[in-house]
């Protein structure tokens, strides 16, 4: 049994989001022994007839989901982010290739997961799922946005991967806030630099922007909760208006949000980008706050990156 999580943990929002879409009889929730941790357990309590336990067998769960989707169901399969990766080829070949509407949720993603140590800290999930054609890749920052984005999964025609986080973070949204899969949410506006962030780093980005404003560096902060498809329209606009970017993510700097931004910016603009993320190494056990400091996933890391990006304008 995992530690209790209430308040701003995105996994809690996912659990509530499942209940919001339960009215659709096509929705089926699949578990691999981690329902209490991913928070699909709330759906199980309310709708046991539409919850299927598949044991500690993630590869079977992914193809089981594909079979259900081919039969008209909308399966939502969750486990830890790292364990979804065990079934990567199943997701690629069995779900995405035929374009089946299976929605995967990987909880406990990132270094922020903390004391469980490096085996549990997925720092590459966003990158690998982003490489699969037809996949939508989502990483909400708090419980309120996670709930809303989960509810919107019903609007997708193809497969998706959503990473949620284990621990509580400050809320960035209020109940009823408008946000939409595929559209970055501008949480703060400034004309000197844009910080494009996702997940638990969105709150850190807001704090960094406040610090930078005291140096007269005015930042836009975006919650880029949808990594794929990337909101190119917003990025292009911010490239013109701000002229410099910092990406901030609890994920490897290789292939995730920073990688996605870099691909687009380098081929379409000369706008500088600095990346804050995990520098191609594994984590270890420790408190979330200790690990984030150790890896430079903190306010100071974003501020330094912002100054570097501005100096490259």
């Amino acid at each position: 049994m995992s530690a209790p999580s209430s308040g701003g943990a995105s996994r809690d929002g996912y659990g509530r989001g499942l209940l919001r879409i339960a009215h659709d009889p096509r929705v089926v929730v699949l578990e691999a022994d981690l329902g209490k941790s991913t928070k699909s357990c709330h759906f199980r309590d309310e709708y046991p007839d539409r919850t299927v336990s598949l044991g500690i067998a993630e590869q079977n769960m992914m193809l089981f989901a594909a079979g259900m989707a081919s039969s008209g169901k909308i399966p939502i399969a969750s486990t830890f982010a790292i364990f979804t990766e065990r079934a990567f080829e199943q997701v690629r070949n069995g779900i995405a290739r035929p374009g089946l509407p299976v929605h995967i949720c990987g909880s406990h993603g990132g270094i922020h997961t903390g004391t469980d140590g490096s085996s549990a800290q997925s720092i590459e999930d966003l990158a690998i799922y982003r490489t699969i054609p037809k996949m939508t890749v989502i990483h909400p920052c708090d419980d309120i946005s996670a709930e809303e984005l989960t509810a919107q999964l019903l609007d997708l025609n193809g497969p998706s991967y959503m990473r949620t986080a284990r621990n509580k973070v400050p809320r960035m949204y209020e109940d009823g806030s408008k946000l939409k899969i595929g559209s970055g949410s501008v949480l703060r506006e400034g004309g000197d630099l844009a910080i494009i962030s996702c997940g638990v780093m969105v709150g850190v980005a807001i704090s960094a922007a406040e610090t930078l404003s005291r140096e007269s560096i005015n930042c836009t902060v975006v919650d880029m909760h949808t990594i794929k498809p990337l909101d190119i329209e917003l990025i292009a606009k911010l490239s013109d208006s701000c002229g410099a970017f910092v990406s901030a993510e609890d994920h490897s700097v290789i292939g995730g949000l920073g990688g996605a931004l870099s691909e687009w910016l380098s081929t379409n603009t000369s706008t500088p980008l600095e990346m804050v993320g995990v520098r191609d190494n594994f984590g270890q056990s420790g408190a979330s706050s200790e690990l984030m400091e150790l890896m430079g996933l903190n306010e100071a890391g974003i501020c330094e990156a912002a100054r570097r990006a501005i100096s490259r304008k």
Binding site: D49, A57, Q59, F64, G72, Q90, R97
Partner: protein, 275 residues
């Protein structure tokens, strides 16, 4: 048959012979493909399609059709030959096998071919998919049945046994497996590569009901398919003892024809033998 319908075994044997002709012709034309495992599987598939699979050739997407999950997706020529003989695919379709834009992709693909229920190609995945189809049918209170064809080499994949465990736990009474036990895999005979042992006993140990059959004796196949179709006590597996390359002398028990097409002379001999 359990429903009282008379089955013309000799007609099924003739259909299987025509399918074998298709298999050697399309792999010859493509200069690639997997004739050996197609020829070993074809009698089983004809017995299933020809006697019990509820499938509307004029409406292959019919929602309440029975499903046939070709998990050993490299044996796609067998699948395409069945669909050809049933009138879902035409001669041009199957002779375009493996060419750019063809509806007959190298491995069976539900997005490319009408009548194909599963996108295969990576072994070990079809039983899980079939189980998902089976439990979805139960949730819908539909009586559609799900057939999954596995290769014996494929059962080396651990995912097969994850699915076997789950199928019994979830009482998938509408799920039937048929294993093409031809004893040859890509590189060599299974007892050289990694012998899996008594596959039927393994399924039994996971709670399945199992029968073995001669996978090239149409009369026995019809009987065992009929038995499997009427079983409702849990998931059912049939282990069909087959010969890789069956029906074409030089392909029989020849590991080389797992993934090699016949050349012009070999095609001529094969067609002569199948005439």
């Amino acid at each position: 048959m359990g429903d009282g319908t008379e089955v013309d075994v000799s007609e099924l044997e003739q259909m299987a012979r025509r399918c074998r002709v298709d298999i050697v012709k399309m792999t010859h034309a493509a200069k690639s493909g997997h004739p050996g495992g197609s020829l070993s599987a074809i009698d089983c598939m004809v017995a299933i399609y020809g006697t019990c699979l509820r499938f509307d050739t004029s409406n292959p997407d019919w929602e309440d059709r029975d499903r046939f999950i070709m998990s050993k997706g490299h044996a796609s020529p067998a699948m395409y030959s069945i669909l050809h003989q049933m009138g879902v695919l035409d001669e041009d379709d199957i002779m375009g096998f493996r060419t750019l834009g063809s509806v007959c992709q190298g491995h069976v693909d539900m997005n490319w071919t009408k009548g194909v229920d599963f996108s295969a190609g990576s072994l070990g995945m079809g039983l899980s998919f079939g189980l998902g189809c089976a439990l979805a049918a139960k949730m819908d209170s539909s009586d559609r049945r799900i057939w999954v064809m596995l290769g014996d080499g494929e059962t080396q994949e651990g995912q097969i046994w994850e699915a076997a465990m789950a199928a019994n736990y979830h009482n998938a009474t509408n799920l039937r497996v048929i294993v093409d036990r031809n004893r040859i895999q890509n590189d060599d005979f299974m007892d050289v590569q990694m012998e899996i042992g008594d596959i039927g006993e393994k399924f039994r140990s996971f709670g399945w009901t199992v029968k073995e059959v001669d996978g090239h004796d149409m009369s026995s196949l019809v009987d065992v398919v009929d038995w499997a179709n009427s079983e409702d006590g849990g998931p059912v597996a049939i282990v069909a003892n087959t010969v890789k390359g069956n029906g074409v002398s030089f392909m029989e028990n020849n590991p080389s024809f797992h993934g090699m097409a016949p050349d012009d002379e070999e095609l001529r001999i094969a067609l002569e033998e199948l005439s």
